[in-house]
Amino acid sequence: MSEMLIKNATVYDPINGVNGDLMDIAVKDGKIVDSVGNSAQTIDAGGRLVYPGGVDAHTHIAGSKVNVGRIMRPEDSRTGIKPRTAITRPYTGYTVPNVYAMGYRYAEMGYTTAFEAAIPIMKARHTHEELEEIPIIDKGGLTLFGSNWMVMDAIREDDQDRLAAYVAWGLLASRGWGVKVVNPGGGEAWGFGKNVSGLDDPVPNFEVTPRQIIRNLAEVNEKMNLPHSIHLHCNNLGVPGNYETTLASFDICKDIKSRRDRQSLHVTHVMFNSLGGNHWGDFVSKTDVIADYLNKNDFLTIDMGQMIFGSATTMTADGPVQYRNSTTFKARWGNGDVELEDVSGVTPLYYSPQVYFYGVMWAMGLELALLTKDPWKVLLTTDHPNGGPYENYPEAMTLLMSKKKREEAIAKITEKAYDRWHITGIERELDWYDIAIKTRAAHAKVLGLVEQGKGHLGTGADADIAIYDIKPDETDATIEYDKVKAGFRRSAYTIKGGEVVARDGTITATPKGRTFWVRTTVDNDGYGRMMDDLKFKFRNYYSVNMGNYMVQNEYVEHPVVLETEYQ
């Protein structure tokens, strides 16, 4: 591999405390180095904005439910079309892009890493087949454990070693990076069309509570020394008054000590879980209370799940929510139960600013990011494509950077929303450094990817670099937000592993990305008990033989495997 020198870069690298310094960045063999020789390829950034390559810690980009979205929505695939070129395959789709557009669009925005937020173990092979086909970016995924029979049985029988052994086995079987918990227990209840109503509502037939599931998985997560904390999608999503469940869910993990330099709980798309009121009639934003909790506690991170007005394809392992959405809005309903493990649902929605609850929810994502003082605690996401497609991240970035832009947007929202939110009173405008945190640095830190060379530009880091056609010292993002948005939308250069993959928003190379996953050794007799139980379940209840279940190496062509040990 060749050498590269990026000169005159205005660099924001929050993990290394670099805040707008004018400097050069040297690259050799795909990594950041201290210096390179005279023959290195030189890119003159001309004082333009340089960030580490973007990292997305929560997005739905691959697997069964994404494909259900594509199959259900040909009208979506008829948008966003670009014909093939000598370098690129055709692009299709807006909310559910094809695999090629998925990778190209991230790269065009200067993003170089994205993590799929929900892998059902039984369908993990499919997830990896799509991940492998997504060009350019590095990826990984979080594996679903929140309604799994193996998990619930081990918890009910108070056998945490066995639970850990299963989580380790499940991560191996799915080639996953972390523990995702969606509507804990609710997935099993949805097996018979029911749900759990709160943290202490026992799961039918399994007699464990969502609280026990969260607590045990969080404890085991730390004992396993996993790079990421548990990643929780709270119970009661989308139900007015659910902020209380959310706060109570936070509390479950308050005293859990993280074994790594990161949170011990990440709660996702909290916008959908910060609803006040008793019903949609008196529904109000309770992001102030959530942000207040975040301001007082340091064990916790969240992501926004920012809503973007327009078309969305909602997809989640929260099956009951999607049934409710489809019946409420008379929308198409894709449901996908997974035996012994989980459920899922896919429903297309349209978020109109004329509908007050969408208007309020739009504000709530921004409120969470702006009312929480520490920028590291709230990641910028749209929960793609639930809140809206990730290609709108520049829209969300500039909304956070400019009060004037927010006011413009608010003027288009129905006035019925105005007395239900907090957005109008918020003066805060984020700066270039904050945005670098919220779109790459904090994502890498939350996922435990900093040591893997992601989210920063320190020596030894992956040479994943975004150069934007924005001169920070000459640009006032609070006013020139259109220019900033355009700049973030199409990077001047996206460099992935030391190779220029996009130039001025056009793809120039399509290397294959790598996939991160974790292998944890559980060396105690819990492993034996787990295998006995697992074999029993395969023999009696699974429709697939155990020998055919686990994802084979063939499906992860460029793996990066982190080894950990259970203690």
């Binding site: 040909p74 014909p83 093939r84 299709t92 094809n98 097996g191 037939n205 894709g334 429709s543 697939v544």
Partner: protein
């Protein structure tokens, strides 16, 4: 040597519990397979070498792989509107190459779903699909409906493994845990095993579905005395059975997709099942035919955004079933070359469609002499996927599994042939541009 956990490369059940005894690179015994699966794995007379002929009525002559591949590439590269059809009896790995080849030649890619569950995809576009994995239904369903499908014949182990006779967690009494209802136009061998057989007049399924929806919605008053040949009394009884289910599952087949109403039948069936979820848990799933027809839909969707019938002539995917499905293209005489792989258009298209294929060059990639072979100008034999080649296939419920290789053979794989054709097409197109 006994190879365990073998997957069966025949139907959409994709049974993965076969054991196959192999001695001296020959399959000598097959355990746990159904009659069809055993027949498939045991194999039949092969096409021994690539063959070509200029005139479809003349005899084939054996040629080298290179010659057959180069001539195939020449035909595809020089055609204006090639159809690339079949795919369902191949592995996902070769399907990806198929999409790429279609892009390269600006053709139309379509799969066997076109004459099978294509209308189901249209129903999904209209209404979605509340579904799940087969094990979910096995463990939970207490009411099992087969509508317009005959698994005793088409999916012989389905009722034993997944749906009727097997025991599950909440269905631990096996057959006695379930009430089985069959809707069909004739009393099939599946109907003979049901608790309830409901005979529908041919082509009147849509009306019967509508009547059931009305009853479930509490509007029995709008239902005529008989609908589709079924008395209102009977329909009310069936609707009550469905409403009373803790978990109801509808398996449906060609009886809905191929009869009058076609995709509208699926729309209506999905609507019925969706509405039943107000009462208990209900799911619906198409009984997919080829072992990897579901894989094609998945590969095509993630590659192009569309599930099948994708026209690449514009340089980007264009999908409009009814315009871009094989039989429409053939009947409109648009096609000027046909590339048929891992599916037998010749045996399963209406004669008038096939007659159009008789007028254009036909390239047939298949291990066996099929009806398409009779129409072909070029025949290229390949490995039998799932017997002689490992790789990915999707069960009817979308569970992706890895097929095993049982024996070694010298034939190239579909993927290898496609790779070579793609390379040659690029060479020809590069030279002419």
């Amino acid at each position: 040597m006994i190879i365990k956990d073998v997957l069966c490369p025949f139907c959409g059940c994709l049974c993965d519990d076969l054991a196959v005894k192999v001695e001296n690179n020959k399959v000598v015994d097959i355990m746990h397979a159904c009659k069809i699966g055993e027949s498939k794995i045991r194999g039949h007379d092969r096409i021994k070498a690539p063959m070509m002929r200029d005139n479809k009525n003349s005899e084939f002559r054996e040629v080298s792989y290179d010659e057959a591949i180069n001539e195939s590439a020449r035909i595809l590269a020089n055609s204006r509107r090639p159809l690339l059809y079949g795919w369902a009896s191949g592995l996902c790995e070769m399907m990806k190459k198929g999409v790429l080849l279609t892009e390269e030649v600006g053709g139309i890619i379509d799969n066997t779903a076109s004459v099978c569950h294509g209308p189901s995809a249209l129903g999904v576009h209209e209404k979605g699909l509340p579904t799940g994995t087969l094990g979910q239904f096995a463990n939970r369903a207490d009411v099992v409906v087969f509508w317009g499908c005959n698994p005793v014949h088409a999916h012989p182990r389905h009722m034993g493994r997944y749906s009727v006779f097997n025991k599950g967690f909440f269905t631990n009494k096996g057959r006695r845990s379930r009430k089985v209802v069959v809707f069909d136009v004739r009393k099939t061998d599946t109907a003979n095993l049901a608790d309830e057989y409901v005979q529908v007049n041919p082509g009147e399924d849509y009306m019967v579905l509508s009547a059931l929806r009305a009853i479930v919605a509490g509007r029995v008053d709008v239902v005529p005395d008989t609908v589709g040949g079924i008395s209102r009394e009977k329909l009310v009884e069936v609707a009550e059975t469905l409403k009373g289910a803790k978990f109801g599952i509808v398996y449906f087949g060609m009886g809905l997709t191929q009869s009058r109403g076609k995709y509208k039948n699926i729309d209506n069936a999905v609507s019925l099942v969706t509405e039943l979820n107000a009462h208990g848990k209900h799911s619906i799933i198409p009984m997919r035919g080829h072992y990897n027809v579901t894989g094609f839909g998945n590969v095509c969707a993630w590659e192009t955004g569309f599930v099948n019938a994708v026209d690449m002539s514009r340089g980007y995917p264009y999908y409009n079933p009814g315009e871009t499905c094989s039989n429409d293209l053939l009947m409109r005489e648009e096609i000027d070359a046909a590339f048929i792989i891992a599916g037998d258009a010749g045996a399963h298209f209406p004669a008038q469609s096939i007659a159009r294929m008789g007028k254009v060059p036909v390239i047939n990639i298949d291990p066996f002499h099929s009806a398409t072979t009779e129409m072909a100008n070029i025949v290229i034999p390949t490995k039998v996927s799932g017997v002689e080649l490992e790789g990915t296939a999707y069960r009817m419920d979308g569970v992706s599994l890895r097929m095993r290789k049982l024996v070694d053979v010298d034939f190239p794989s579909d993927e290898e042939v496609l790779d070579k054709i793609i390379a040659k097409v690029r060479e020809i197109k590069g030279a002419s541009s």
